[in-house]
Symmetry: C2
Subunit: 124 residues, 2 copies
């Protein structure tokens, strides 16, 4: 399970959303798996249930999970929903690159950062 950084400035609900997407991407969870209940996750993270609910609502609006009243929330089998979220992440990343470009970062410095973080994949 992922962790939260309450003082990072990143909205908690976004951290929860990204946490589950990351777990899906890493194969730690897969389609059909039951999500933690809203209340239990709120207790675990010592945050408000409404915040978890908001995160789950975001995940459900994106088709990443589906919820059944009285039963719980489950990870969707729909791979296209997951890839759509990845597409949105790509869009966010594009904005970050654009900002870096505007501030004068050269392509060499950019690729340096990329290679640093993706070094494991490059070895393959």
């Amino acid at each position: 399970m992922f962790q939260l950084d309450l003082k990072s400035g990143v909205p908690i609900c976004d951290q929860i959303v990204n946490g589950f997407i990351r777990m899906k991407a890493l194969g730690l969870i897969s389609g059909g798996d039951q999500m933690p209940s809203i209340r239990s996750l709120a207790i675990k993270f010592s945050i408000n249930p409404n915040t978890v609910q908001k995160a789950y609502a975001i995940l459900e609006s994106g088709g990443i999970i589906y919820s059944v009243k009285g039963r719980g929330s489950f990870l969707s089998d729909d791979e296209s929903a997951h890839s759509a979220v990845i597409s949105r992440a790509k869009s966010d990343f594009r904005a970050a690159v654009r900002t870096a470009h505007e501030l004068g970062l050269g392509i060499s410095e950019i690729t340096e950062v990329i290679n640093d973080i993706y070094k494991e994949e490059k070895k393959c």
Copy 2:
């Protein structure tokens, strides 16, 4: 001179800060150059002078510019201040890459975005 996107969600003061840093990086302005006055820039962009003042305060706190009461604001000669800001931008970009990596974006998708935005530089 750069332009503002009032509906981008990016704070206006940040856009102003980044705009001048970008101009410095591109060589459009250099150390000792006089900055536009707070009021004139506010009129030019049709925004509140306080917003410009906040942007200038950020730039001054970072050593990018210095202000003289009654005379105006001027671009600093201190290159280390500018490089420090670039360093911070690099750090922010690193965080964005890390997020993209965590969400499962492959290096091919990453490089695709990079090449798209830096295409002009690649031609050189």
